[in-house]
């Protein structure tokens, strides 16, 4: 089936009356100002509330993925630096943080939430510059949610015994936290907020391509006047993350990232008594039934896979369409794809920004090539990509079969694989046919069918008639090889508490 031809002969009409590839108007550039943002030429490791050079002094350069221009140099931590950071956290836990009443810890966390709100624009701009995500997402999603997360967990700090009655909840000690580059500030908040609320101190390692909002957060820590050593931030490659999580004085490990690295960490921690939570990869099914409100579903599908360039562990990367609505849905989807604006992340009209790194772009490209080679049919809208930077055209594949790599492997890019089904049972079977189990989506107007599907999905988050919604009160995490433990809500709190009843 030649899809491009079809578009020419039978132009698809989207709900707003445009055919595929048709642009009624051009947008004027609307770049977000960057003059109020100060990025230091060099960042040291943040240990004990001080920025310190790594020992031996080594740095690496962080770039803007949209321009490939350097943004700053950051310290490359050594094993000795990991030791220093864990030492500072350990000392802070012993002497200050574990002794502070919960109501006082709460006030520090409320302060952090407030400062993040006050400085929200600065954080949004730096986040977009460093990660490549569109400013409207960092401004409207990442930063407000990060602040909300601190505000939510602040309130738990002095209520732990109500969350776990009769279990004598206690802090664990030093939490080692390793986070990815797709939501740098938000993942920091997901990790640090519950850890501090539970009375732990932390050493956080951001991804090596996206440390800038973490170091900006270090400044928030200082403004909030947090006791030294409660929050420590170190940067370096994956090996440093491994040094951190295996450090003998670390009592809790929280990792968000790929399933492969998650398994390496879990193996390294086997036989220890460290508490571990893993939030790993996904290959979510987004299932559209023939009675779904199609225009609403189109927006959900687009949000599901092109939000944050598809660099989302819970992205709706496998679209399952009931055969009876396949053609109208695909036509509408292609028309909608053609209206997505790809380009400068700092432009307020941009829908899809830059891929985070050259390495990730190469991975996306390779998997897309495999899709073509394995016989799936590719569709990409006409779209002008910037000359520099790591950009990828929003892509969809039709004619995908279950065995194709693009239906099995996590792409972590703006690439949607479309498959079809006839019955709910077939959709369930296909949707669950993956080692992952992080999220799923269901689109139907029929209530009883929603619950049938919700029950059948082997996934930790199921969005019904919506997709990619997040909230601090809402537990998030996976089934199967998508990891274990939950972040968010009361469930996210337990992961940071010693509930053995023995104290320590």
């Amino acid at each position: 089936m030649t899809l491009t031809k079809k578009n020419e002969t039978r132009p698809a009409t989207a709900s707003w009356g445009l055919a595929a590839g048709e642009h009624p108007w051009e947008y004027a550039p609307a770049p977000e100002a960057t003059d109020h943002v100060r990025i230091e030429p060099e960042y040291g490791l943040f240990i004990g509330n001080e920025f310190t050079r790594s020992k031996p002094r080594r740095t690496f350069t962080v770039i803007n993925p949209a321009t490939e221009e350097p943004l700053a140099k950051v310290a490359h931590a050594s094993k000795a630096d990991v030791d220093r950071a864990v030492g500072a956290a350990s000392e802070a836990h012993r002497s200050v943080w574990s002794k502070l009443p919960g109501r006082e810890r709460a006030k520090y966390l409320y302060r952090i939430a407030r400062i993040l709100q006050e400085r929200s624009r600065e954080f949004a701009v730096v986040e977009s510059m460093n990660s490549g995500k569109p400013i409207k997402e960092s401004r409207d999603v990442d930063v407000p949610l990060a602040a909300a997360h601190f505000f939510y967990y602040a309130g738990w700090a002095d209520k732990l015994e109500y969350a776990y009655p009769n279990r004598d909840p206690r802090s664990l000690g030093v939490a080692a936290q390793v986070i990815p580059w797709n939501f740098p500030l938000l993942m920091l908040a997901w990790k640090i907020a519950p850890a501090l609320a539970a009375g732990n101190t932390v050493v956080l390692k951001p991804a090596s391509t996206t440390p800038l909002t973490a170091y900006l957060f270090a400044d928030v820590v200082r403004q909030a006047d947090l006791p030294p050593g409660v929050v420590n931030i170190i940067t370096g490659p994956g090996e440093i993350g491994m040094e951190l999580v295996t450090h003998p004085d670390v009592r809790k490990v929280a990792f968000t990232g790929s399933t492969a690295v998650g398994k390496m960490i879990a193996r390294a921690l086997a036989g220890t008594d460290k508490k571990v939570t893993l939030e790993l990869g996904g290959k979510a099914a987004n299932i559209v039934f023939d009675d779904a409100p199609l225009d609403q579903a189109i927006e959900g599908i687009v949000n599901g896979i092109y939000f944050n360039q598809g660099e989302v562990c819970c992205a709706g990367s496998r679209l399952f369409v009931q055969e009876s609505v396949y053609e109208p849905l695909i036509d509408k989807l292609k028309a909608r794809l053609s209206t997505l604006r790809v380009g400068d992340p700092l432009d307020k009209n941009t829908d899809v920004g830059a891929i985070n790194s050259a390495g990730q772009l190469a991975k996306v490209t390779e998997l897309v090539e495999s899709g073509i080679e394995e016989g799936a049919e590719i569709f990409q809208p006409d779209c002008q990509l910037p000359d520099r930077g790591f950009f990828f055209v929003p892509t969809l594949f039709t004619g995908v079969s279950q065995s194709h790599r693009i239906a099995q492997e996590e792409i972590f890019g703006p690439v949607l694989s479309v498959l079809t089904f006839r019955t709910p049972e077939e959709a369930i079977e296909k949707a669950n046919n993956t080692p992952y189990g992080l999220s799923a989506g269901v689109w139907t107007e029929k209530g009883s069918r929603i619950f049938k599907m919700v029950n059948a999905m082997r996934a930790g988050v199921v969005w019904a008639n919506t997709f990619n919604r997040f909230d601090p009160t809402s537990p998030f995490g996976g089934y199967k090889e998508s990891g274990y433990g939950r972040e968010g809500g009361i469930h996210g709190l337990g992961a940071y508490l010693d509930l053995s009843g023995n104290g320590r």
Binding site: A266, R267, V461, A464, T466, P475, I490
Partner: protein
């Protein structure tokens, strides 16, 4: 297995070997509990202790057995020396049975667990005799252990339709969405039964696994497997669907690694494992990101199974997944 796993496993094995029941071989008649052997008029009918897989009692595919001795060194029985293939069959049976078990109403699962207690009560004397023989405890002590085992089923039976209200939540998200989180069974759970506490230890770990709708594959105590086998006879007649609980007896070193590494097992309860063998098990369990419950630090030697602390709704929570559901609110 990685070289590191093999090394750790070997160390654990060496430690265990000295205590292996294989070392205690001696030419003795089988002195089985409850038999009338030696009373003259009538030759007793002995029981063959078999595996329990998919609701049936097959012999091990290996055709091999090992001798089980009582606490005083008397030969009690030949138990099936299960194999890797038996473990695989048990996992298949568990996988097949699990969705049906999970889809039963909580009220129904609750009644079935209560039924287990009812039938155990009826066979109390048999369990007491077997626990006495296996653990070398007196009749009074064995009675307390059996009573505690029966009561534990009753206690967990009551949780079937209550624990979701304890662990589940409705989440007040900042937006026009209805959002809730519910626990669901993890799937197929491997259980390494405690080595010493032949009945109460096993029941204490098994009940919280199956009450939520998981199916279990149990590796029995190696040196004291007989009460566990008798328990499966109770399970088989308690309306617990075949395959929901499967039991493999044998030499643990030949079995537990395969269970830990099995790709279709979702979680492993290694609480009953030797701390020395736990690291290798945990490493093997990583391959498909199993949920893993570690043995207590320092082992189970001082663990008191009769304590209140040995039962907890949070233990049910170790073998469930939290699923969060969003739906918009609108006209």
């Amino acid at each position: 297995m990685s070289p590191r796993t093999t090394k750790t496993a070997t160390r654990a094995r060496d430690r265990r070997r000295s205590a292996s029941v294989l070392e205690q071989r001696a030419a003795q008649p089988l002195a089985r509990t409850g038999s009338t052997d030696g009373r003259g008029e009538r030759i007793g009918v002995r029981k063959t202790y078999k595996l329990y897989i998919g609701g049936a009692f097959p012999r091990t595919e290996s055709g091999r057995a090992y001798e089980v001795f009582g606490a005083k060194g008397e030969l009690l029985a030949n138990a099936s020396r299960g194999t890797r293939k038996d473990v695989r069959e048990a996992v298949r049976a568990a996988r097949k049975a699990q969705p049906g078990w999970a889809s039963k109403t909580a009220y129904n699962r609750s009644q079935i667990l209560y039924r287990i207690a009812e039938l155990m009560e009826g066979r109390r004397d048999q369990f007491v005799a077997e626990v006495m023989a296996a653990e070398g405890v007196g009749r009074a002590r064995a009675g307390r252990l059996v009573d505690a085992s029966i009561d534990r089923w009753v206690w967990y039976a009551g949780w079937a339709d209550k624990y979701p209200q304890l662990i589940g939540t409705v989440n007040p998200v900042a937006g026009s969405y209805f959002n809730f989180s519910v626990p669901e069974p993890t799937g197929v759970v491997g259980v390494i039964a405690p080595e010493a506490s032949s009945l109460l230890g096993l029941v204490s770990r098994l009940a919280p696994v199956i009450v939520s709708g998981n199916a279990a594959v149990v590796i029995a105590s190696e040196s004291r497997p007989l009460p566990a086998v008798t328990l499966t006879e109770v399970l088989a007649t308690s309306d617990v669907p075949g395959g929901v609980v499967n039991l493999v007896t044998g030499l643990r070193r030949e079995l537990i690694g395969h269970l830990a590494g099995h790709m279709d097992v979702n979680a492993l309860d290694a609480f009953g494992a030797d701390p020395g063998e736990a690291a290798a098990l945990e490493e093997a369990a990583v391959e498909n990101v199993k949920r893993f419950v570690r043995p207590p630090r320092g082992g189970l030697e001082k663990y008191r199974w009769t304590d209140e602390a040995a039962q907890s709704p949070y233990l049910i929570g170790e073998f469930v997944e939290i699923k969060t559901v969003w739906h918009p609110i609108g006209a």
